[in-house]
């Protein structure tokens, strides 16, 4: 069940990252997509014979969470700089089609 939830979150996040124009919203969406990825990574791994959860994917996800908070923080700092310099919090249509 959580695999499907992960895939749904990944799709929602991808949608938001490209469809939203406000940078803060784009970053929120990227964080939702990464939560989806983390869910898939942990719940796709085979369960242990004793019913426990494999510690390795958990460690990978912990690393992923910390990296994503660091990247988000820098992205927000860039968004603030963009707002201060150019008075906007969006990326132009033409530009964000990448």
């Amino acid at each position: 069940m959580f695999i499907i939830l992960g895939a749904v979150l990944f799709a929602l996040g991808l949608y938001g990252a490209f469809a939203r124009r406000n940078v803060v919203l784009k970053l929120v969406a990227v964080n939702i997509a990464s939560s989806g990825v983390f869910l898939v990574v942990v719940s796709a791994a085979p369960t242990l014979p004793d019913g426990g959860t494999d510690p390795l994917p958990q460690a990978l996800v912990l690393t992923g969470i910390v990296i994503s908070v660091a990247v988000t923080a820098f992205g927000l700092a860039l968004a603030r700089r963009l707002a201060t310099d150019e008075g906007r919090a969006t990326l132009d249509d033409k530009e964000d089609s990448s």
């Binding site: 990825v37 791994a45 992923g64 992205g75 860039l78 530009e95 964000d96």
Partner: protein
């Protein structure tokens, strides 16, 4: 002469540790001490790469278990000839760029910019060295993130937050796709180590999907066509020394990871031939599109950035050649030669552009008239490095393209040869555009508007890189089949 057994692990560990420690130090202290430290560490990192290369030549490919735990429990580094030479060449390019940056950044915008540049560059160097040696798909993910974050920080130095943000967002989404692939590989095959994966991966949907995700991820990070859209604004707007590092070195990081996956894991999936044709076609489009865009540009740095998109395309074109038995050796050698010679040449051209910006304050091609008259060495550097982009003999680019042509003819895929030749012609056009403006005489007599002289070290740093790009061709001339 053989090295003591302890030397190689030390060289590898220091190639990571020294740049990280120096980067931390340069965050705390500034000034001349920090400048000397940064330069010294870049040189030492390059030396460590040479030691590693000697070790590999001596005892073959080396595997180092980090933390003393062998895979699959722990993480191993694998140091082969390519990784060792990549460490050596990267350290050298960083050293040249740091020499340039110390002067040109301060000329451009007063003191302080070079101080912000230093820690970013050093952490980037450490991250790249870790990337070259990593042999674990998740460890590669962490190094890719480190490299991307440092690279985005460098783009942001110039003040173009929009370009930096776009780069960051594409990088993060690429990383997510890559990490998904890692998770699927572990769930299906129980390991993240590349060597072990090579033995365990079986053809099937899981392996195919995981690798597709990872390849899309590194293509986004490495600006491989069609996910290249963020590169020209980012590399075109960054300060010139940052562009030199990004276009010269960082841009190859994505393809480097792609190549590792391609050589180790892909053969076992059975999907290589089909994937190779798709990626090769994308590469051909990149060559065409990047070159045509480069020809249309009016600013030198943006022209160079589009040229990078095109040159990365050649690397993708090498994949269908590598995938065949007949073209494997030449194709791989060609791709590696292209990475090395383009790294030096493109870094040299961006540094030369930076020198011109430092004196003239801009890089609009139409207003560069007379630059060759005022700064002959810088104009010579542009031309010399341009020869590598075009693939003229005896440059490193010539050897690379010769090898690729050889591989495409050997493997009976003449159409890739057509792409390579056509791309070289287009490269000739945009290099001519880049150089001819500076060669043309200014309209009036420039006696009253003599620009300020350039500090010698700016010109020498760029020239050294262009000379190495040329020398790469000379030292490997015997490889011509």
């Amino acid at each position: 002469m053989s090295l003591a057994p302890q030397v190689l692990p030390w060289a590898a560990a220091l190639a990571l540790a020294l740049p990280l420690l120096a980067g931390a130090a340069c965050f705390v202290v500034g000034g001349r001490t920090a400048a000397a430290l940064a330069l010294g560490v870049a040189v030492l990192s390059s030396a460590a790469g040479l030691v590693l290369a000697a070790g590999v030549a001596d005892g073959g490919v080396q595997r180092l278990a980090l933390g003393g735990w062998a895979p699959p429990l722990g993480i191993a580094w694998r140091i082969d000839g390519v990784a060792a030479l990549a460490v050596a060449l990267t350290g050298f390019i960083f050293a040249a760029v740091l020499v340039h940056a110390e002067k040109s950044l301060d000329l451009l915008r007063g003191e302080g910019l070079s101080e912000a540049f230093r820690p970013l560059a050093l952490v980037l160097l450490g991250g790249l060295n870790a990337l070259y040696m990593a042999n674990d798909v998740f460890n590669l993910y962490v190094t890719l993130e480190l490299v991307t974050l440092a690279a985005v920080g460098m783009v942001a130095l110039a003040g173009d937050s929009a370009a930096a943000l776009r780069y960051l967002l594409v990088g993060v989404i690429g990383a997510l796709a890559y990490m998904l692939g890692c998770g699927l590989l572990y769930a299906a095959f129980g390991t993240l180590d590349l060597d072990l994966l090579a033995g365990r991966v079986q053809p099937g949907g899981t392996a195919g999907a995981a690798l597709a995700l990872m390849i899309v991820g590194v293509m986004a990070k490495g600006a491989l066509f069609p996910l290249h859209g963020w590169l020209p604004p980012a590399h075109g707007s960054a300060v010139a020394p940052a562009s030199a590092l990004l276009s010269g070195v960082v841009a190859k990081g994505g393809f480097y990871v792609l190549l590792r996956l391609w050589l180790d894991v892909f053969p076992a999936t059975g999907a290589a031939p089909a994937a190779a044709q798709i990626l090769g076609t994308l590469g051909a489009l990149a060559v065409l599109w990047g070159s045509l865009q480069a020809i249309r540009q009016t600013r030198l740095k943006v022209l160079l950035a589009y040229s990078t998109v095109a040159q990365l395309g050649y690397l993708m074109v090498s994949l269908p050649l590598i995938a065949t038995a007949a073209g494997h050796a030449s194709g791989l050698a060609g791709a590696l030669h292209l990475m090395a010679s383009h790294a030096c040449a493109k870094a040299a051209m961006f540094l030369a552009a930076g020198s011109l910006i430092a004196t003239r304050g801009h890089d609009c091609l139409a207003d560069l008239k007379g630059a060759a008259h005022d700064h002959p060495m810088t104009a010579f550097t542009l031309g010399l490095a341009g020869m590598t982009l075009m693939g003229l003999p005896p440059s490193g680019g010539f050897i690379a393209k010769w090898l690729l042509l050889d591989a495409s003819l050997r493997s009976g895929q003449w159409w890739w040869a057509a792409v390579i030749l056509g791309g070289s012609l287009l490269a000739g056009v945009y290099v001519f555009l880049a150089v001819s403006w500076s060669m043309s005489r200014p309209p009036g007599e420039p006696s009253d508007s003599q620009p300020p002289p350039l500090p010698r070290r700016l010109e020498f740093a760029a020239l050294a890189l262009a000379l190495v790009a040329m020398a790469l061709g000379l030292v490997s001339a015997e490889r011509i089949p």
